[in-house]
């Protein structure tokens, strides 16, 4: 966790830092950096206690998923040392280097290279090489010796604490209570006696460490990428041929996506020409997609830019930004409405977005604020969530707010109520109907609330049938009230 943060933000190392997680309503420390550890703060402590110890402690929220992703990445990276790399507990990685050592001029060199490289990437790392995975685990964590041969193994393990055997904490504590604190102590006790008291698991762990019992490593394997391709016997050059192949490739990929309930936001088509150069076509969608027809249409828009050169001999199609996407009920013929329309709109937006850039295709979204200035925001369609807010019922709002509101001149007014005659941009209106006030107080917690005083909004209708949304600003300090036009009502 902390390694991840320090990689992301190098300055993190300059102050005591802790990652916290919530547990039963209390904040607990999940991980600490060196400075915090130096001040005596340990993982598992209550944040309040840690604060009492070290008021300067800074905290971030624990993000186990991000940690997991980073570890995943390290495991994949370790692939270059051995194809048999696997996760090992929360903080470990195990590599089976049998047969890989010759590539690195010996075990010591391998370990050193590996550790150096990880350290350069700002990870804290401790490694060990032993005949068994269990022994290497123990040595890496509890011993100063890093490379131990089969013959040396018992001697190297004996002084280590029993916890080094990866046995349950409770059992380790129980062993400690009768004085069996090291692996050496345990090896001197009759095996039967141990098994009776602490279960056969203890013996298994002991045997695994000493190489008397097998332990399998389940190597990590990356999932197959969403990629497909076709090699041509004869290079192709026509758009029709390319489209025909593309259709096949898209269908293959989309069938797989559909089966896995996934969709992709990006598709890259690589056309490898005979001269070794490659032409790339890329399409993006605003939602994870897998509709072949839609994607075909998007590609066709770009097809004119494709230069086949002297012919294309290989085509590859790659789907990226793959996300989960629930299966959709296809609309039945003759009664398709809701779903179909929605899909059509999405497809239209994709096509516009493809030309203008997705960040330029925006829409309004309601924000839960009654103050007109804050009540909507303009967001790109692709990032907008489905609107969940609805205007509270009787509130009437103009379609567009005038920004800034236009001052109006009051020619005549009913005291304490609404005006009878107003002048807006030199035009005089006689008010025949009015409703209000709708009183809105400023949202006092916002950063500059003083820009807005309490406002009384009125709906008014003039003799000519013009309907306006106007407000009076109520300021306590200033004398005289000011009126503004904030929008036209339908």
């Amino acid at each position: 966790m902390i390694d991840r943060l320090e990689r992301e933000e190098p300055r993190c190392g300059a102050f005591p830092l802790a990652a916290v997680r919530e547990e039963k309503g209390h904040l607990h420390i999940a991980a600490v950096n060196d400075l915090a550890r130096g001040a005596g703060i340990q993982a598992g402590a209550r944040l309040a206690d840690a604060r009492a110890l070290l008021p300067a402690l800074r905290i971030v929220l624990h993000d186990p998923e991000a940690d997991e992703r980073l570890k995943q990445w390290i495991v994949e990276w370790c692939d270059r040392y051995s194809p048999l790399a696997a996760h090992d507990g929360a903080d470990g990685i195990v590599l089976d280097i049998t047969g890989c050592v010759h590539l690195f001029e010996g075990e010591a060199a391998l370990l050193e290279t590996l550790e150096t490289q990880l350290r350069e990437m700002k990870f804290h790392v401790r490694g060990a090489i032993a005949d068994t995975a269990a022994a290497a685990w123990a040595l890496a964590r509890f011993s100063k010796r890093v490379i131990v041969t089969r013959e040396e193994l018992p001697g190297a393990l004996d002084p280590l604490p029993v916890r080094a055997l990866r046995i349950h904490v409770e059992i380790a504590t129980e062993l400690g209570r009768v004085g069996l604190t090291t692996i050496g102590h345990m090896r001197r006790i009759p095996r039967d006696a141990l098994a009776t008291r602490y279960g056969p698991g203890v013996l298994l762990r002991l045997d695994q460490a000493l190489g008397l019992a097998e332990e399998a490593i389940t190597p990590y394997r990356a999932p197959a990428p969403y990629r497909t391709g076709q090699v041509f016997a004869e290079p192709i050059g026509t758009t029709a041929a390319v489209e025909h192949t593309l259709l096949g490739l898209l269908t293959a990929l989309c069938v797989r996506l559909e089966k896995e309930h996934r969709g992709a936001r990006r598709f890259d088509l690589g056309c490898h020409r005979v001269d070794g150069s490659t032409a790339w076509l890329q399409v993006r969608t605003s939602r994870p997609g897998r509709s072949v027809t839609h994607l075909m249409r998007l590609f066709s828009e770009k097809m004119s830019t494709l230069d086949a050169g002297f012919g294309i001999e290989i085509m590859t199609l790659n789907a990226a930004d793959v996300e989960g996407a629930a299966p959709v009920q296809m609309s039945l013929p003759h009664c398709g409405d809701g779903i179909g329309k929605d899909t059509l709109l999405t497809e239209l937006l994709d096509r516009i977005g493809l030309r203008l850039g997705f960040e330029h295709v925006c829409r309004f979204q309601i924000r839960e604020s009654l103050l007109p200035e804050f009540s909507t925001e303009f967001v790109p369609v692709s990032s907008a969530s489905t609107p969940n807010a609805h205007w509270p019922e009787p509130r009437v709002r103009p379609v567009r707010f005038l920004d800034p509101p236009v001052p109006i001149e009051i020619a005549e007014i009913i005291p304490g109520k609404w005006p009878v005659r107003i002048r807006v941009e030199r035009q005089l209106h006689w008010i025949v109907r009015a409703e209000g006030p709708e009183r809105l107080t400023p949202e006092w917690w916002r950063d500059q609330p003083l820009r807005w005083a309490t406002r009384d909004y009125y709906r008014i209708e003039s003799e000519q049938g013009v309907r306006l949304w106007i407000f009076r600003e109520i300021r306590r300090t200033e004398s005289g009230e000011r009126w503004f036009l904030h929008g036209h009502l339908p």
Binding site: L27, A39, G40, L47, A48, R51, A52, L53, L54, P55, R58, I59, E174, G176, R177, V178, G179, L180, T181, H185, R188, I189, P190, A193, T196, R197, Y198, R367, E368, S369, L370, A389, P392, E393, P394, R395, V396, E435, G436, P437, E438, R439, L440, T441, E443, W444, W445, D447, T454, D456, Y457, R459
Partner: protein, 1041 residues
Amino acid sequence: MRAYAELQVSSNFSFLRGASHPQELMAAAAVAGLQAIALTDRNTLSGIVLAHSFLKQNPDVGTRFLVGCRLDLSNGASLLCYPTGRAAYGRLTRLLTLGKRRAAKGKCDLALADVAEYSEGQRFILPFPEVLNDASTRQIRTCAAMFPGRIYLALTNSCRGDDRRWIQTVSEFARSIGIPAVVTNDVLYHARERKPLQDVVTCIREGCTLEAAGFRLQANAERDLKTAREMSELFSAYPDALEATLEIADACRFSLDELRYEYPEEIVEPGLSAFEDLKRRTWAGAAWRFPNGIPEAVSKQISHELRLIEERQYAPYFLTVHEIVKFATSKGILHQGRGSAANSVICFCLGITQVDPVARGLLFERFISAARDEPPDIDVDFEHDRREEVIQHIYEKYGRERAGLTATVVHYRTRRAVREVGKVLGLSEDVTGALAGTVWGWSNDGVLEKGVREAGLNPTDRRLRQTLDLTKMLVGFPRHLSQHVGGFVIARGRLDELLPIENAAMEDRTVVQWEKDDLDELGMMKVDILGLGMLTAIRRAFELMERHYDQKLTLSSIPDKDPAVYAMLQQADSIGVFQVESRAQQSMLPRLKPKEFYDLVIEVAIVRPGPIQGDMVHPYLRRREGKEPVVYPSPALEEILKKTLGVPLFQEQAMQIAIIGAGFTPTEADQLRRALATFRHVGTIQTFRERFVSGMLKNGYPQDFAEHCFSQIEGFGTYGFPEAHAISFANLVLVSAWLKCHYPDVFCAALLNSQPMGFYAPAQLVQDARNHGVEIRPIDVNRSDWDSTLEPVPGSARHAVRLGLRMVAGLAEKEAQALVAARGAGYHSPDEIARRAGCGRKALDRLAQADAFQSMQLARRQALWKTNALDGKMPSLFLQAKTNLFPEPAPELPSATPSQEVVKDYQAVGLTLREHPLTFLREVLQARRAITVEQLKQAPNGRMVTVAGLVLSRQQPATARNTIFLTIEDETGAVNLIAWQRVQEKYHRAVLRAKLLGCHGVVQREGQVLHVVANQVWDWSDDLRRLNAGATLPIRSRDFH
């Protein structure tokens, strides 16, 4: 302008909805010229007494208060309910009790049918509907049909734009179904300035930030208490609906003053009146208390008290308490009345209190004040672990409808308030945590600017400013109801017709909706059933005395003139003794040098925050030592202050000064006491101060003396003891000191069996007993009972203490008792215990860890090795057969070092009878030039020394916020350290966290009192790991704030 009554008002007792105190609303209603105001909190009547008494205390206010309640039903509908008279009020409280008792704590479960059942004599208002759809119109029609003629539909203006139209629609709908409309403003705060606070509490309730609250917040600040003029302007088109407010107000004539509390009656002997019965019992009790004839002074006092009681008709109250006490006596539960009840000789004769007030010169009038027309208040302490028996007895005897615990309103205090406000305003956990961290304990002062700066924050930041301001407003707001520690209300008739009863968080408990002060206000009887650990210890000690020394003792039979006892206390040899064992008391004892019983009374009263804050301790000590002449400000005050050498030490002395010196009436003095004790009457203290000082000046006392007196009284209000209370406590000091002095073996065993209690851990109690020559024997499966016991020592009059199985960490009582019961002639092996007593492996493991198999010649590790082999609950037959046929060879277990044994002792029992852990570290400590406590005792005043020890306790007294007192202990004894602010800041971690503390500082001696003022402090806890290869010593200091 038309007259108007506001009938829909939520105070902050509608938790996290209302944003004003009931008093604020009442005051605002008066200013707004309202004819009446109702309080309609959600399913609660908790706020009505505050509102009622506010208006009562301000009789010139023309606004009448109506009791009301908003009934939030389970189906989501709401009704406002107003009882028209006493009977209807009783139905309302029963309705609420029904809903509350059905639901979990804090919830209410009511249906419309329930309301109908209790609806006689109620007026109802349906809140203004936001929409009129099928569901809401059906709801309104149902209610209209159910309560014809006494239900109204509210019209409320919200300034939401279409109000005129909407109010018109709703009023037409009301007319169409034939129910009248009534105007309300659905008030949530008394003034619009509270709108921000209302937003904040809304967010706290919804668990969101202001930013995210969206439409859950009100759009404007119209939910304030408006004036009659404003309301009549807003509703000028609806004169009938305005008129209806007065109509309802006129119909609801019920006032809380009508509640007549009646004492339970079944306690009275048939055929006798309550008074006659009390008289009979008192004289019988007097004969029991004074077997050699009732002294004349006593009988005179009894007659006097009886006369007063008859006059006031308090006899049933005394009988009720007597009944409870009689039950306790019959069960052998030790008890003692505390507080001012000890002023009454009748309480003494009835066995409620244990000190003869005549002999002590106490005045009954201080108990039942002539001026206060409220019932007396008797608090009784019972053994802490048997108090529940008494409580359940009361429920059983009177039933849940007639007895309930009083409530305590839990208020927002600064820490909690700043956390929640900060969260709502979007401050990070980091910042609110830091802000809360600057507040000490239970402060109600808000976060101080200085604290903000200390936390490294900028107090001028706008958002921070807002947080602090709102926090200050929120402090003192009720948060939820909780149960009082032991205050009981018992009534003759149904208690639930007096006030609503709710479920408490604890099973088998029911709580009434009102606080102690609310009950006082309405003259209801309550008796405090409290728990006191020392009583448990004393009862156990008395039992041991009877069994082993053949002496029958009672709380009033201990001689109070035994010089040996006082000599012991003068040496500050008081570990385990009630009250005077604390650090502060220990340093006071050698200075005060108690020589007689009354000195103990003063000792108890003087080491209290009140006298300390009021700066009364030093003048008193100087006068006592003859270093300062005893002078009195006036002959009148001499009378009051004579007993305490002219320095007020007791609460009633402070009140008497107010009465005699400043010319307060007794009622006013009592109001002053209450104003100081709680913050219910915020802001009134300044008025009292002015009255007090001007009163003193008028009576010819100098200004500075008057000011000084008042600040003394302020100190008392919160913390002072009444004299009678101090006497009751002093009696327990005497009893426990006498036991410790003459029977340290009994005393030690009794204290160990009553843990947890008191100031010291078992380790110190055992150490202290050993220092007094008591032999302590280890826990053993063949010798120990559950409790610690006494075993005879050949050739000695004294007994040895055998530690009990209860001290084994994690051992269940049931299994330990089974072990004792099946022991017979003794066990020979661990599996025999498993077989015969049915003890599981876990229990035997615990015993082995506690090294309790020594009588089988099994050392701890060997014993554990054996118990580890036991499988589950019973040893498996297979294993048993196997071990019998082929005995397992004894394995070579590494043997434990002496220091490891000590650590294990601490782990399993919390103390060791072997050597002190520091013995093993002495070499290391010596290398750091640390001297032992023994050597320290020889060091002269002012010498710089280094000492080290295990931290036993830390204390930061409320009166000395800048100081932390630490007690550390090494193998030769214990010593007190003082860490001033500077040292605390510099050595923060060591001061607060160290288990083993090293300290370099100056020796300070004052008479026999010795302590070290720290200059430097180190945390040497890591050295404890040397004792046991890495694992540290499991000790925890007891920290007091």
